[in-house]
């Protein structure tokens, strides 16, 4: 059965989705991810969807679920690199993914996660500049 690799990077988990998601794959990812959060006691999850061209309502819901599940397990989830067309589709579907944070790219997503770890609970989903 196909699985999406989940990489551990220190306190964070890194998931890069390089293939088009189909339902079973997304459900597996959801299960694997919460298990990994438990296993590594991670503080943050970063999901890169920059090469995903299609997200339907089911996938949107899975992504939202992952965000909420991670949060109640004490890990912050950040989705990075969403394509403009995907964002427009999600908004048209009425899925604004209010529960999860987003960032433009992996770099900014990492920065965001680090700043959230440092600050406790961040309120905003824009990144804070650490180089002050």
């Amino acid at each position: 059965m196909d699985r999406i690799p989940i990489l551990k990077m220190g306190d964070f988990l890194l998931v890069t989705i390089q293939v088009d998601l189909y339902d079973q794959l997304a459900e597996n990812l959801e299960t694997d991810l919460v298990n990994s959060v438990k296993k590594f006691d991670s503080k943050g999850v970063l999901i890169d969807i920059s090469s995903v061209a299609i997200i339907d309502s089911f996938m949107g819901r899975i992504l939202g679920n992952i965000g909420v599940m991670s949060k109640i397990m004490g890990a912050e989830a950040v989705i990075v690199g969403m394509q403009p067309a995907v964002a427009i589709t999600l908004v048209e579907l009425g899925l604004t993914l209010t529960g999860i944070t987003t960032a433009l790219n992996v770099e900014k997503g990492m920065e965001l996660l680090r700043s959230k770890m440092g600050l406790g609970y961040g309120q905003n989903n824009y990144h804070d500049n650490n180089t002050e």
């Binding site: 964002a87 987003t102 433009l104 997503g109």
Partner: protein, 277 residues
């Protein structure tokens, strides 16, 4: 008898043309004489060449296609040049008048005159309808081209600072326009890697629930990408309307001017701009 009518018209081609141009000249709308005369000449030629015993009986005869084509061309170009419908209408109706007058002067048999006049009237009236279709077609082409141009030039995304883009919206926001605005804004955010987008609506004349819905959609889409969106340029009357309509903008950062939106953006990015001293 019919042959008589047709021969008369073909013989008196010059007279018809002169009479027609004379009628056009007496109208106020007459200008650019050379172009107009050339058009008239072409139409008279095409019409009279097509006219024979068979085509006279049938207003939809294939023979008139050339004349119709010429007329369509004239109508479309007139619409684009800004002639009024009345002027274009009079243009063709005076042609009919010129022909009927020529017939009246030259055909002596009252019965033939009457029946042939009716037939010619029918043909020309049919062509008059075509004139209006052509005229409206010309107008519509003009309007759709202008609409395209406006949509294209009206969504410039400006990079105001490192990591801040602004998009001033001027004119009414409808669904198709929102789509263009959203697409170009999101595209620019990704290309420039900007974390803050400012949507300035000071040039939007009115905000209703639909426009607000469009704005909220744009903001949501921006957030999905991982950027924050600030709406600026909320005029007092717009603020009043938004509240009266019960639109909830509390999840969106809104500012009255672009300057204050920029300040907020600076604060978010922890950028300090100060006087040089």
């Amino acid at each position: 008898m019919q042959n008589n009518t047709i021969t008369v018209l073909k013989d008196k081609k010059e007279q018809v043309l002169d009479l027609w141009i004379e009628m056009q000249t007496s109208e106020d709308s007459y200008f650019n004489a050379e172009d107009q005369n050339a058009d008239s000449q072409e139409l008279v030629d095409a019409f009279l060449n097509a006219l024979d015993a068979d085509t006279l009986e049938n207003k939809d005869a294939i023979g008139f296609d050339r004349a119709k084509e010429v007329l369509m061309g004239i109508s479309v170009s007139r619409a684009k040049q800004g002639f009024s419908p009345r002027e274009t209408g009079i243009y063709l109706f005076s042609f009919k008048e010129a022909i009927l007058k020529t017939l009246y002067d030259n055909v002596k048999d009252p019965v033939a005159l009457h029946s042939d006049s009716l037939k010619i009237s029918r043909i020309l009236d049919n062509m008059a309808i075509l004139t209006f279709e052509g005229f409206i077609k010309g107008r519509e082409e003009l309007i759709s081209r202008q609409t395209d141009e406006i949509t294209e030039i009206s969504t410039p995304v400006i990079r105001v600072w490192d990591g801040i883009v602004a998009l001033p919206i001027i004119g009414t926001l409808d669904s198709s326009r929102t789509q263009v605005v959203m697409e170009s804004l999101l595209q620019q955010i990704v290309e420039t890697g900007s974390t803050i987008a400012i949507l300035d609506i000071s040039g939007v004349p009115a905000v209703d629930t639909l426009v607000a819905q469009h704005l909220i959609k744009t903001v949501s889409a921006t957030r999905l990408l991982g950027a924050e969106c600030i709406i600026s340029g909320i005029r007092p009357e717009i603020a009043q309307i938004v509240v009266h309509l019960g639109i909830d903008l509390s999840n969106i950062i809104t500012k009255s001017t672009l300057a204050s939106a920029l300040q907020t953006a600076f604060a978010m990015l922890q950028i300090q701009v100060s006087n040089k001293r």
